[in-house]
């Protein structure tokens, strides 16, 4: 059982606020990134992030490790909440460009404090093919099903699976070099 599983269990069984806070600290930045990738609006993204974590508080009982990782569950809530928002009139009035992939804002690493792991990630992203960029974006960050992805990218269904692996592993952070 890794740390996340332990925290989730503690939060789920006891509604332990410390565990909730730790999970929030672990994931809020990435979920903000996921939401912002869909909405492309900073203020709205912050609001939705808050909604997402309220939902996590309310619905943690419904999470089951047997159906997937906590991260995946959270990712799903975040993507859905953001996508829901794009259907609102308030959002449509903002006229945001929704055809932006997750890698678009990762272009200027020199502006950030960057560690070695991140440097490598940037270097690998630069080398990433257009096909891979699209696929990773749709499968992980836009919540496309395998079928939707195969249609959107005009590739065979089975290829979605193998390509998910090959594309992402070219980016994989080296934890155990």
């Amino acid at each position: 059982m890794d740390e996340v599983d332990f925290l989730v269990k503690k939060f789920q069984e006891e509604k332990d606020v410390k565990a909730y806070e730790k999970l929030y600290n672990m994931y809020h930045e990435s979920m903000l990134g996921v939401i912002h990738n869909i909405l492309q609006d900073e203020d709205l993204s912050k609001d939705i992030l808050q909604e997402v974590f309220l939902k996590v508080w309310d619905n943690i009982e419904s999470y089951s490790p047997k159906r997937g990782r906590f991260f995946t569950w959270l990712l799903n809530i975040s993507r859905n909440a953001a996508i829901d928002k794009t259907r609102s009139k308030e959002y449509k009035d903002l006229k945001k460009n929704q055809n932006i992939d997750i890698f678009v804002h990762i272009s200027q690493p020199e502006e950030r404090e960057v560690d070695d792991q991140e440097k490598m990630l940037y270097a690998n992203i630069k080398k990433l093919s257009e096909k891979c960029r699209k696929l990773i974006d749709l499968i992980f960050y836009k919540g496309y099903t395998q079928k939707e992805t195969s249609e959107a990218l005009e590739i065979p269904l089975g290829t979605v699976k193998t390509r998910s692996r090959s594309c992402l592993s070219s980016l994989k952070l080296s934890l155990n070099p």
Binding site: D16, N37, R67, P109, E111, Q117, V160, K161
Partner: protein
């Protein structure tokens, strides 16, 4: 027995993390993860990569609101629910209707709620007054206490320290609570709170978070008189402490816009 290498290369674990597998396939992966630590490690790596990309994908200046805001929302939402928990009284109301007949239908939901609310407020205000008195008494007594006693209490093994961090209205403030659950006593170190403005007073709250319920631990009048340490009794199973600025005499429920400091206890 599965071929680990082949299994990894199939791409099923990526789709598992992305959440696009159907329920049966997800369960199969879950079972395999329990059996093979290599797979678990691989899944964690996928997750970390996906997390990292998402983190760096957002504009540099985009930052989430502080966690305290989230807690406040949970809290405020809960406050709207309490004390009007209509569904708790549904069964009871239905039996009244049955007993006294049609006339009871006029005993509308809102009237009932008003009564319930009024009763709760009366009960709460008595409790608050009592607690405020209690805090004052203890504070007065404290003057006679020796400094050694304070130090002994604070350094005791049974005493936990809870740091209260400055919130939105007063981010530069801070306070510490030293809480001994055995003796049900707390010392507050209020060095990081500015003097309360005229006509206002700080009030200490014990919060339990499921459901989110504030309990007043009294107003901090000793602080208004220039004292740094205040002693307070606390027999609640507190999960968090908060200090708000309230009108003189204190309030029945915390004014959240004036939440100065907040901190979670480790015991929760």
């Amino acid at each position: 027995m599965i071929d680990i290498k082949e299994y990894i290369e199939s791409g099923i674990l990526e789709l598992y993390v992305a959440g696009t597998l159907n329920r049966e396939d997800s369960y199969e992966v879950y079972s395999n993860l329990q059996k093979y630590p290599e797979l678990r490690e691989y899944v964690q790596q996928i997750e970390q990569t996906v997390v990292k990309i998402a983190e760096v994908s957002k504009p540099k200046d985009l930052k989430a609101k502080p966690f305290g805001n989230l807690l406040r929302s949970l809290h405020q939402r809960q406050q709207k629910v309490i004390p009007i928990r209509w569904h708790h009284y549904m069964g009871w109301a239905a039996s009244v209707v049955l007993m006294v007949g049609v006339a009871s239908l006029y005993y509308s939901k809102s009237e009932l709620n008003e009564k319930l609310t009024a009763q709760t407020i009366v009960k709460d205000s008595i409790k608050t007054e009592k607690q405020a008195l209690q805090a004052d008494l203890i504070a007065a007594k404290l003057e006679m206490n020796t400094q050694e006693e304070v130090i002994a209490f604070i350094t005791s093994k049974e005493t936990v320290k809870v740091d209260l961090a400055g919130q939105k209205v007063a981010p530069e403030t801070y306070a510490s609570v030293y809480w001994n659950q055995d003796t049900e006593e707390m010392y507050l170190d209020l060095e990081g709170l500015p003097p309360a403005p005229k006509g206002k007073v700080y009030q200490l709250w014990s919060l339990t978070l499921n459901p989110l319920t504030p309990t007043s631990l009294g107003t901090l009048d000793a602080h208004s008189q220039g004292k740094r340490f205040v002693k307070v009794g606390n027999n609640n199973a507190s999960q968090a402490f908060g200090i708000t600025l309230e009108p003189e005499g204190g309030s029945i429920s915390p004014t959240l816009e004036q939440l100065y400091t907040l901190g979670l206890t480790k015991i929760s």
